[in-house]
Amino acid sequence: MNEGHAGSQAGGAVPPVVIHTRKLWPRRLVWIWVGVLFLLHHDFWWWDDPTLVFGFIPIGLAYHSAYSVVAGITWWLAIRHAWPEEIEEWASAGESETAIKGRVK
C-alpha cells in the first residue's frame, strides 16, 4: 500500500503522520460533496414560498429537514469511509511520550 507523509518533525520531536492513500479519494469526495451542500443550503427558490408539504410542513422547512438528513448521511459515510485513522494512530502511538512537548501541525 502506498503511503504519503504529512506533518512535520519540528525539532525532531514529533514523528510524521502517515496518511493511508486509500483514504484520499473518499476524503476528496466528502469535501467536494460538502461544498455542494454548502451551495444547496442557500435555497433562495423557496424563500418566499409558503406552500405546505403534506398539509402541515412549510416547504422551506421540509427542504431543510431533508437537507439535514442528507447532511447526517454525509457525515455517517465520512465517518465510515474517510475517518482519519492515522490521526488516531498518531495520538495513540505517542501516549507514552507525554513528556515530549513540541510544535505540532
Partner: protein, 384 residues
C-alpha cells in the same frame, strides 16, 4: 384577580420541583459510585461509554440558547431559523470537527493537554500567552453560561405565573396584574437552578454532571415528542394545524423566510466560531473516553430532531396561532422567551443589502414594545 387565581394550576410547579429533586437525587446517587480518587471525580476514570458521552455532549450543546432562545426566535421570525441554526449546524459543526476537532483531540491525548491554555502555551512556547488566554477564555464562556441560567429563570417565571401573587406581585400602575403577576422572579429561579447544579456537581463530580446531562437530554427529547403530539391534537390534527397557520395573518408570513430573518450572511462565521468552544468541550469529553467520539453524525441527528420539533410544533409556528402576540406585548413575550437572540434589522429582496426597517418604540407600563412601521404582524388575533 380572584378569578385569575382560581384558574391557576400548580401542576407546573410540582413537575419542576420533582425534576429538580431528581437532579439532586442523581448527584447523591452518583456519589455512591465514586472511587474516591481525583481522576474519578474530575474525569470519571476516563471510562465513559458512547451513550453517556453522546447524551452528555448533546445535552450540553442544547442550552437555553437552543431550547428557549431559538424557539422564541422562530416564533417571531419563522422557519428560516431552522436553516440558520439546525441545518447549518449539521454541515458546519461536523466539518469543523473533522478539520480541527480530531487534531485537537489527538494533540491533547498525545501530550496530555487538558485545557486550551495548555495547548496554546506549549504550541507557541509562551507561558505569557497561557496567562493572557486564561481570563479571555473564561470571559468568553461566561455569557454562554449566563444564557442558560437566565433562560432557566425565565422558564420558571413563565411557568409559575399567578402562583404567588402575595409574594411576588407584578402590577401595572393602574393596579391590574401583568401576565407575569405572582410568578417566581427570574433572579430567584436562576439562583435555585444554580444551587442545584452546584449541588450535583459538588457531590457527584463529573459523573454527577454527566448523569444529570443524560437525564435532562432524555427528558427534553421525549417531552418534545409528547408536546408535538399534544399541540397538534389540540389544534385538530396536523392538517388542521397547517390550515390554521396558512390562514393566520400573524403566522402566514412565518411559513417562508423572506424578509423575516436579519443578516443571515454571517451565519457561517457564527457557526464556525460557535463550534470552537463546543470542540474544546468535546475534546475534554473525549478525554473521558478511551476512543475519540465518532458520534458527530448522531449528535447532528439528535440536534435536527429537536430543532424540527421545537420550531414547527413545540412552541414556535403552531404557537403563533395558539398564542398570537397581543398589542402591547413583544412578539416573543408569549412565545418561548427571547434569550440570546435578537431580531436585528429586517432584510427584504430588492431593498438594499441590509435594509433596516423603521421601528416604532412604544412604552406601555410593564412592557417595551418594538413595532415595525406599518407591520400588521403584531396585530392581535383571536384563536379560532
Amino acid at each position: 384577580m380572584t378569578t385569575m387565581l382560581a384558574a391557576v394550576s400548580y401542576t407546573p410547579l410540582y413537575v419542576i420541583s420533582v425534576y429538580m429533586l431528581a437532579l439532586i437525587g442523581l448527584g447523591l446517587a452518583s456519589r455512591q459510585f465514586s472511587k474516591g480518587t481525583s481522576a474519578d471525580y474530575f474525569l470519571v476514570s476516563r471510562n465513559i461509554g458512547p451513550f453517556l458521552l453522546l447524551m452528555s455532549i448533546f445535552g450540553t450543546t442544547m442550552t437555553g440558547f437552543a431550547l428557549v432562545g431559538s424557539t422564541g426566535k422562530s416564533y417571531t421570525s419563522g422557519i428560516g431559523v431552522y436553516g440558520l441554526m439546525a441545518s447549518w449546524s449539521g454541515l458546519i459543526h461536523s466539518a469543523v470537527f473533522f478539520v480541527v476537532g480530531m487534531k485537537l483531540w489527538a494533540v491533547g491525548k498525545r501530550y496530555g493537554y487538558l485545557t486550551q491554555c495548555e495547548y496554546f502555551r506549549e504550541r507557541f512556547q509562551s507561558p505569557a500567552l497561557g496567562h493572557v488566554l486564561f481570563p479571555v477564555l473564561i470571559l468568553l464562556v461566561i455569557p454562554y453560561l449566563l444564557v442558560g441560567v437566565i433562560s432557566a429563570g425565565k422558564f420558571i417565571q413563565g411557568s409559575t405565573a399567578g402562583m404567588f401573587p402575595e409574594l411576588f406581585p407584578l402590577l401595572r400602575p393602574d393596579g391590574s396584574p401583568t401576565p407575569l403577576h405572582g410568578s417566581v422572579p427570574v433572579w430567584a429561579g436562576s439562583l435555585v437552578v444554580c444551587l442545584i447544579v452546584l449541588f450535583y456537581v459538588f457531590f457527584g463530580g463529573l459523573r454527577g454532571a454527566i448523569w444529570a446531562n443524560t437525564m435532562q437530554t432524555l427528558v427534553f427529547m421525549v417531552t418534545g415528542v409528547i408536546a408535538f403530539y399534544l399541540i397538534s391534537q389540540k389544534l385538530g390534527g396536523l392538517a388542521e394545524a397547517g390550515r390554521m397557520v396558512s390562514e393566520s395573518e400573524f403566522a402566514k408570513p412565518r411559513l417562508a423566510r423572506e424578509g423575516m430573518l436579519g443578516q443571515p450572511d454571517s451565519a457561517v462565521g457564527r457557526h464556525v466560531s460557535a463550534s470552537v468552544p463546543a470542540l474544546a468541550y468535546r475534546a475534554q469529553c473525549e478525554e473521558l473516553s478511551p476512543q475519540p467520539d465518532r458520534t458527530p453524525d448522531l449528535h447532528h441527528d439528535c440536534l435536527v430532531a429537536v430543532y424540527f420539533d421545537r420550531h414547527l410544533g413545540g412552541r414556535a409556528l403552531w404557537r403563533t396561532i395558539l398564542h398570537p402576540p397581543q398589542r402591547g406585548a413583544r412578539a416573543g413575550d408569549q412565545g418561548a422567551g427571547r434569550v440570546g437572540v435578537s431580531d436585528g434589522p429586517g432584510r427584504r429582496r430588492g431593498a438594499g443589502r441590509h435594509h433596516v426597517e423603521p421601528r416604532l418604540s412604544v412604552h406601555v407600563p410593564g412592557h417595551h414594545v418594538h413595532q415595525r412601521r406599518g407591520d400588521a404582524r403584531v396585530r392581535p388575533e383571536p384563536l379560532q
